[in-house]
């Protein structure tokens, strides 16, 4: 990484000399990206497969709580830091919009206490509402920007967990699917794997607890077959966390080798870190290549004019023609912009339709469920179900939108008739806080009626009966309260009570439906707004990105023309000097160009 930064800095120096602010901005952003490299590897799997223990064994420290019962309830991030420390990320209590700051707050805690915050025991069902915990450790494994994310297990009773994990996936660069050696993959695991592959293609599988199961080799073979059926080439690494921890305690290298961890570490290094680095390398190389091309163009044209003053007008004419062409291309920008604008408005319409369609299906299901029974007593479960379904629908829409927008960027890039146009970096699929402005589903009257109320309802009904029949029988000389009037009162009271019960059920069902409708409306409103905002951001980012490319091209040509014209008017003495200067500069540019080319061409050889 360091050498990449050095290269970019050399590029910046060169650009500075040439005084091209636009190119410099680009290189500076590249440098920023390089310096802030973090590669998130999320560790997922069903519960009780040894995810937390795997991370503990990797960093050789008990940072993630391990228990015989379900342990992890909050995602924990383990990353490199000079000093061991821990931080909790909690949502800010105050209104996040009020001060415009981030809605999350970071609270430092003692590293030893971290288990009590993130475990199911200390924090059942995440009642402290933690968003995440972050642990920093000075470990060699983590150097290079690797951060490991321990996630709560999926497939449990609480499908909300698996949803959290799925929504966290798009932010991760790679994923480790953990399954223990007691048995081959089950259907839910493979289903999760397929789902995850759509979101994050960089997936490795880990087979844990090989110390406990003598037949782990058989299981590994069986798993291999299942994996190949999903997609060939997914690596499967058998490990034993317990052996690794033992090995660390006893300082036993042989045991460490037996634990299988060296292979896992090598995989993390070469494949995950390596592929992230290769991506970085490619983009840096491309940036440097295009920038050196730009610089060289103006330098060579100036040099040409200086060396051969007679042909200057011809060269200028050639350059003017090129500039004309570039202008043409800029004008053609109209065409790519039309593609972009049309694409975005199509995308907004499609996505709104998609979101509404998904939510309407949920609404229909919900209303059917409400009609089938009394929603009062089961409202809590119902509201939970509704929230989960909505969250998963929204996350689906976001993933879909992200796929579509990447496709759109490619469409736009096709308008540029260059060999390779950089594509903008887009990210919309992160659904972290999308649903937070939506209020929780409000509570519904559970429909329980106290005994006193029951009596009152009955009395209210019977009152008329007693009075009516009492008066009627009064004609024949009976008192107001007599067996007939009381009997009539009882009958009418019962009828009134039953009717009242029915009416209350109807009312509750109506109320519940209204609540569902309002909730869905709210979601459509908030999420629609958020999606539209993001798509607009994408549109803007894409537009800026491509117009910048066009602009750079135009400016380079313009600069060359000016330089050539200036050269024609230069005195002979100065000419010699200037030629030397340019030659020296060209040499440096060429050197950088060659290095960038090497970087791109053969990443393996250039690895530190």
């Amino acid at each position: 990484m360091a050498e990449l930064v050095q290269l970019v800095e050399r590029g910046i120096e060169l650009v500075h000399a040439g005084d091209r602010a636009d190119l410099r901005r680009r290189l500076e952003s590249t440098r920023g990206r390089l310096l802030d490299a973090a590669i998130r590897v999320i560790v997922v799997g069903e519960f009780k497969q040894g995810k937390s223990q795997l991370i503990n064994a990797l960093v050789n420290a008990p940072v993630c709580p391990v228990d015989d019962d379900i342990a992890t309830s909050v995602p924990t991030v383990v990353r490199y830091g000079e000093q061991p420390s821990a931080v909790l990320v909690v949502p800010r209590d105050a209104d996040p919009a009020a001060d415009g700051g981030p809605a999350l707050e970071r609270q430092p805690v003692d590293l030893a206490d971290i288990a009590s915050y993130v475990s199911e025991k200390g924090n059942p069902g995440n009642e402290r509402r933690l968003v995440a915990a972050e642990v920093s450790l000075p470990r060699k494994v983590l150097a290079g920007g690797l951060s490991l994310v321990d996630s709560p297990g999926v497939g449990g009773l609480d499908s909300a967990h698996s949803l959290t994990t799925l929504t966290a996936l798009p932010t991760a660069d790679a994923m480790l699917l953990v399954s223990d050696a007691s048995q081959e993959y089950t259907e839910p695991e493979i289903r999760f794997l397929r789902q995850a592959l759509r979101v994050s293609p960089n997936i490795g599988c880990v087979l844990t607890k090989t110390d406990l199961y003598p037949q782990w080799r058989r299981v590994a073979e069986l798993d291999r077959v299942h994996l190949d059926r999903v997609r060939p080439g997914i690596p499967l690494i058998p490990v034993s966390s317990d052996l690794r921890l033992h090995a660390a305690r006893l300082k036993d290298n042989e045991l460490n080798a037996e634990s299988g961890f060296p292979a896992l570490v090598a995989y993390l290094r070469s494949n995950i870190l390596g592929s992230a680095e290769r991506l970085q390398r490619r983009s840096v190389a491309q940036d440097l290549l295009s920038i050196t091309e730009h610089l060289r163009l103006s330098l060579t044209s100036e040099l040409g004019a200086l060396e051969d003053p007679e042909r200057t007008p011809l060269m200028i004419a050639g350059l003017e023609a090129a500039k004309e062409r570039a202008d043409e291309q800029r004008r053609r920008s109209a065409r790519w912009q039309v593609t972009l604008n049309d694409g975005i408005s199509d995308l907004i319409a499609d996505m709104e339709y998609d979101l509404r369609d998904r939510l309407r299906r949920i609404q229909r299901e919900a209303e059917q469920a409400i009609d089938e029974g009394d929603p009062g007593p089961t409202w809590d479960q119902f509201a939970q179900w509704l929230e989960q379904r909505v969250a998963s629908a929204v996350s689906d829409t976001f993933v879909w939108t992200s796929e579509r927008s990447a496709w759109l960027a490619e469409q736009v890039a096709e308008h540029f008739q260059q060999d390779e146009v950089r594509l903008p970096v887009l990210s919309v699929s992160d659904t972290q806080d999308v649903l937070s402005p939506v209020e929780k589903v409000p509570t519904l009257d559970p429909g329980r009626v106290g005994p006193l109320q029951k009596v009152l309802i009955g009395m209210r009904g019977s009152y008329g009966g007693v009075l009516m029949f009492g008066l009627l029988t009064g004609i024949v000389g009976m008192s107001l309260i007599n067996p007939f009037s009381v009997g009539a009162g009882l009958l009418l009271g019962r009828k009134a009570y039953r009717e009242d019960k029915e009416a209350r059920l109807k009312r509750r069902q109506g109320e519940a439906k209204a609540l569902v409708r309002r909730q869905i409306d709210d979601v459509v409103f908030q999420v629609g707004k958020e999606l539209k905002d993001r798509l607009r951001l994408i549109q803007r980012a894409t537009r800026d990105h491509f117009s910048e490319i066009a602009e750079e091209h135009h400016r380079s040509l313009g600069d060359s023309v000016v330089a050539a014209q200036k050269a024609a008017a230069t005195y002979a003495l100065e000419r010699e000097q200037r030629m030397q200067q340019i030659r020296a500069e060209l040499k440096r540019v060429d050197a950088l160009h060659a290095e960038a080319r090497a970087l791109e061409g053969d990443p393996a050889a250039a690895r530190p």
Binding site: G156, L157, L212, V219, L243, L255
Partner: protein, 495 residues
């Protein structure tokens, strides 16, 4: 009091046979029910793939007959019933049943379908001269949530048929940890088999309990805690009579411990502590060629396969702790594996209620038949079905057990727990109902029953008792009265 329902249902089936005298299809179904009433109770063993169903089945039978494997193994529904000579019969979906050769390799049965694809097999029936099968027919089913969907579908179709009563009278459900798909399955089993009468007839088993704590020596204690949590889980409580942790592999092997294995285990236990711990660090180390201890690597591999790492660790500790002979070791291993608990639950919850459980499924079946094929005389049948369902105290007990498990009764927790025990929540033997020791003398049982009867009468008469709890109180009173009646009839009977 157990004969009542059984006899009534048997009479009902006979009546139905007369009514449907001219309908051979219905007659065939009815004679099937008649047979079913006379056969032992059918208990299905179900669960997710690799939950250890076949292993547990072997442990219950006490012999290693059901084949087990690391990969998914059971692909066909297999019935294990009692027979004087070993015999395996294959029942294809269509065609006549045919006998398969009985072949055993190292004690285990080799179930070779003889070229018939698994999809075309309705079931395999294994008849085996095992004592445990005398009053229990066990049904091994392929795992649910399997990657081969049609295998799972076969299990689901068998256990939860849409239109007929389930072939199984009761269910042992194995799970390793409570998954959402476990609950879904239990719900649908309850829906079909018992939905109409609203009772609970499944026992949940936390299987492979030795793996809960990653093979530590106290793993089973940890498993007990986990099981206790599941027992109180609202979702599971209303579906299962209880949750029992079992280390299936250990239970199976403990029941079939061989002398050579005992000798090998004893040799391992005699090793230096440090050496032994290093040896038992991982499965791979345990079967290494150059390990100390004087036990050949091949023998160690067999030990590992039969007992698991946890089993070997536990056996070494037990042997070191003073147990010196094979029978005692086997008994202790079986006790620790949780096998006794599950056998007790089987006999207390299922076998003691066998007549009712069988009768209920038959009732549902006859009811469906009567509804589907009405003819003169069926009205009377329907009436007697309703009479049996409404009148049988046993069903009321079972139904109330379901209600109690859902927590839908307005009683204090103490009272609710007592009520659950009295109506047979932890077993139907009088002493168990009253919470006495198993060998409590008859007059103690009687005094306690009288005490409980008085107490519950008081609760029932208390005006502050919620109306919804009254039905329960009356059922409990009726159960107490039945207890008294039973003890009065046979005062000398050992309880």
């Amino acid at each position: 009091m157990t004969d009542g329902v059984g006899a009534a249902v048997a009479a009902l089936v006979r009546d139905a046979q007369e009514v449907y005298g001219a309908d051979p299809a219905a007659l065939a179904v009815l004679s099937g029910y008649d047979r079913r009433l006379r056969e032992p109770l059918r208990v299905a063993v179900a669960g997710m793939v690799k939950a250890g169903k076949s292993t547990l089945l072997n442990a219950v039978i006490g012999e290693e007959i059901a084949p087990t494997d690391t990969g998914e193994c059971t692909r066909v529904i297999t019935w294990y019933r009692h027979g004087d000579t070993p015999r395996v019969t294959l029942h294809p979906l269509d065609g006549a049943p045919r006998a398969l050769p009985v072949r055993r390799v190292e004690g285990r049965l080799q179930l070779d379908l003889g070229g018939t694809p698994a999809e075309e097999v309705d079931r395999l029936v294994v008849e085996w001269p095992a004592r445990a099968l005398r009053d229990l027919t066990l049904i091994d089913t392929p795992g649910i949530a399997s990657l081969s969907r049609e295998v799972s579908a076969r299990s689901l179709g068998f256990l939860t048929p849409g239109d007929a009563p389930s072939e199984a009278d009761a269910l042992i459900y194995l799970m390793r940890h409570l998954h959402a798909s476990d609950l879904g399955f239990l719900e649908s089993f309850q829906d079909t088999a018992a939905g109409q009468s609203g009772t609970v007839n499944a026992l949940a088993v936390l299987s492979r309990a030795d793996e809960v704590g990653a093979g530590r020596i106290d793993a089973l204690l940890a498993a007990r805690e986990v099981a206790a949590r599941y027992r109180n889980d609202a979702g599971l409580r209303r579906l299962a009579l209880g949750v029992v942790p079992v280390a299936g592999l250990l239970a199976q092997s403990a029941r079939t411990l061989r002398q050579s294995e005992f000798a090998a285990l004893a040799a391992l236990a005699r090793l230096e502590r440090g050496d032994r711990e290093r040896l038992l660090l991982s499965a791979d180390r345990f079967v290494r060629e150059d390990a100390p201890g004087g036990v050949p690597a091949g023998e160690r591999a067999v030990l590992l396969e039969r007992f698991g790492l946890f089993g070997v660790r536990l056996a070494c500790v037990l042997l070191g702790g003073g147990i010196g002979e094979p029978t005692a070791l086997a008994r202790e291993l079986a006790r620790r594996s949780g096998l006794d608990d599950i056998l007790r639950a089987l006999s207390g919850q299922f076998q003691a209620r066998a007549a009712q459980l069988k009768a209920r499924n038959v009732l549902i079946g006859v009811d469906a038949l009567v509804r589907a094929r009405p003819r003169p005389g069926t009205a009377a049948l329907a009436a007697s079905i309703e009479r049996i369902l409404a009148g049988a105290h046993e069903y009321r007990e079972l139904r109330l057990l379901g209600v109690l498990h859902t927590g839908g009764v307005a009683l204090t927790p103490d009272l609710a727990a007592d009520a659950e025990r009295l109506i047979g929540g932890s077993g139907v033997a009088p002493a168990r109902r009253l919470g006495l020791r198993r060998d409590a003398p008859a007059d103690q049982v009687r005094t306690e029953a009288v005490l409980q009867l008085r107490r519950w009468r008081a609760v029932a008469e208390n005006p502050l008792t919620d109306r919804s709890a009254l039905e329960l109180c009356q059922t409990v009173i009726r159960s107490c009265e039945a207890l008294l009646a039973d003890t009065a009839q046979e005062p000398a009977a050992p309880l």
